[in-house]
Subunit: 304 residues, 2 copies
Amino acid sequence: MSAPVFSIAEVEQETGLSKDQLRVWERRYGFPIPLRSNQGERQYSDEDLAKLKVIRRLLDKGMRPGRIMGLPISELQALSGGGQSADRSAPQDLALYLLQTHQTVELHKELSQTLMRDGMFRFITETAAPLSALVGEAWMRGELRIFEEHIYTEILQGILRSAIAQGTGLGGAPKVLLTTLPSEQHGLGMLMAEAVCMLEGAECVRLGVQTPIGDVIAAAAAKQADIVALSFSGNFPANQMSDSLSLLRGNLPSKVGLWCGGAGAMRVKRIPDGVTRISGLHQIGPAISEWRAAAGEPPGLHGG
Amino acid sequence: MSAPVFSIAEVEQETGLSKDQLRVWERRYGFPIPLRSNQGERQYSDEDLAKLKVIRRLLDKGMRPGRIMGLPISELQALSGGGQSADRSAPQDLALYLLQTHQTVELHKELSQTLMRDGMFRFITETAAPLSALVGEAWMRGELRIFEEHIYTEILQGILRSAIAQGTGLGGAPKVLLTTLPSEQHGLGMLMAEAVCMLEGAECVRLGVQTPIGDVIAAAAAKQADIVALSFSGNFPANQMSDSLSLLRGNLPSKVGLWCGGAGAMRVKRIPDGVTRISGLHQIGPAISEWRAAAGEPPGLHGG
DNA sequence: TCAATTGTTTGTCCTAGACAAAATTGAGAA
DNA sequence: TTCTCAATTTTGTCTAGGACAAACAATTGA
C-alpha cells in the first residue's frame, strides 16, 4: 500500500495554481517541497495538496503568499474560517442547511415556493442574492465544497431561467445587453440582473458568460443595444476591470450606456468616466427610469 | 494603427496548445516564429493565430506536427476543409440563417416548435445536436462570431433546461451524476445527455461545468451516484483526458460506472479500462438498459 | 501476413535567471 | 490626522535549452 502521489500537472488541475507558481514557491518559500521520482519529477503528497487548496482559498481572499506560506495547516484553516458573518436570517440558514445535507429536491422546492409567495423582485433581492453571497462565503471558509456550490448554482439558475423565460419578448425600451468578460465565469449575478431589468419592462439580450470585449462591441452594434451591462463577481481581478471598462467605453458608441455591477464592481475605487456603477439590484430600477427620462421615453408602468 | 499582437498565454488560451508546445515547435519546426517585445516576450500575429487554429484542428484529426507545420495556410485549409459534411438538412440551415441575421426571437420560436412537434428525443438527436455541431464548425471557419455562438447557447440552454425541469424528480435507478472537468466549459452536451437520460427514466444530478476531479469523487459519494457521466467537447485537450479519466477511475468505487461522451471523447484512441465510452446520444439508452440488466433492475418502461 | 524490434517524433518536465505589474511601505503636504 | 506620491518589496509569468518517456513509424524475422 503506497501513499498516493500527484504530478505537477495534477496539482495544477486540482488547485488552479500554475506549474510556474508551484515551482517558484518551492524555490522562494520552501513550500511545497515534494519528493522526486526516479526521473526527477515532482511528486506531491496528499498533505501538500490539502494545504495548497487552503492556501489557494486564502489567496483569493486577498492574503499574500509570503505571509501565509510558512504557517502550519491548522493555522491556515483558522485564518480561513475566521470572519464569520452574523447577519444570517432563518430561511437562508435553512437553505444552506438543505444544501449541506444534499437535500436538493427540498431546496428546489423551498426556493420555488419562496418565489411564488414573495414574487420575483422580493425573491431575488431578499432570498436569492443574500443566499448566493452566503454560499460564496461558506465556500471561502471551506464549509462548502465546490460541487455543492455547483449544485446550488444549477438549482437557482433553473428557477431564474424559467421565470425569465415567461417574460421574454414582452419588454420595450431600453434594450439591455447582459454578459460577463472573459475572466468572469459566474453568471448568477447576470441572471438576477436580467430578471430585475425584465420586471422594469426593459428588453434583455443575454450573451452568456465570458464574452471577449471585441464581441461585446460587435454584439451591441448588431443587436442595437441601448445599454451594455456587465456583471463582476467578488474575485474578478480588480486591475483588469478598469482597463477592460475603459477599452469597452472607448469602442462603444457614446450613446450606448455602459453599466457595471456585482461585488467585483464595488471593490474598485474609481471606475472610468462614462461608466455607470450599479451598486445593487435596487439600483437597477432607478437607473432604467433615469435612462428613460434622458431618452424622452415614457416611464414604464413599473416605474416609481 | 498597430496590428494586434498576442502573448503566449493568449495563444494558449485561444488555441488550446500549451506554452511548452508553442516554444518547442518554434525551436524544432521553425514555426511559429513570433516577433519579440522589448523584453523579449513572444508577440504572435493574427496570421500566426489563424494558422495555429487550423493546425490544432488537423492534429485533432490525427495528423502529426512535423508533417504539416511547413505547409502554407492555404494548403492546411484545403486539408482541413476537405471533408466538408454535406448532410445538412433544410431546418438546420434555416436555424443557422436566423442566428446569423440575429433573428433570435424567431430562432427561439422555431426551435420550440420543433421540440413540440418532434418530441424531446427526436428534437435533441435530429435538431439540437447536429445544429450545435454546425454552429461549432461555422465558428471554426470564422462564419460566426463568438457572441453569436453565445446567443445560440443561451437559447438552446433555455429550451433544454425548461424541458428538463418538467421531468425532475420523476426518475428512478440508475442515478446519474453529470458534469464536465475543469478545462471544459461547454455545457450543452451535458444538458442534452441529461435530457436523454431523463427520458430513459434515470435520475439525474447535474453539477454544472468545470468541477475539479476531487469534487466529482466527493459528489459521487455524497449523492450515492450509480454512474458518473462526463461530457467532453471537441476542443478539450486530448492528452489531459486520459490522465483525468484514469485518476477519476482510480478514486471512484469500482461499483460506480464512469461514462464519457461528446466529440472530445471520440477523438482519443484508447480510453482507460473501466471507463465506458458513449459514442453518441443514441448509445445512452442501450447503456442504461445494460446497466439495469447488470444491476438486476427491472428495465424501465422506456427501455426496449 | 503478422508479431516483435528498432528508430523517430513529440509533449512535458526540468533548472535558473529576468523583469514588470501589484502591493506595501515610507515621506511629506493639506 | 488623513491623503497623495514615490520608493521598495513581493509575486507571477516569461525566457532558454536540455532531458526523457510515451506514442508512432519503419524495419526485421517467422
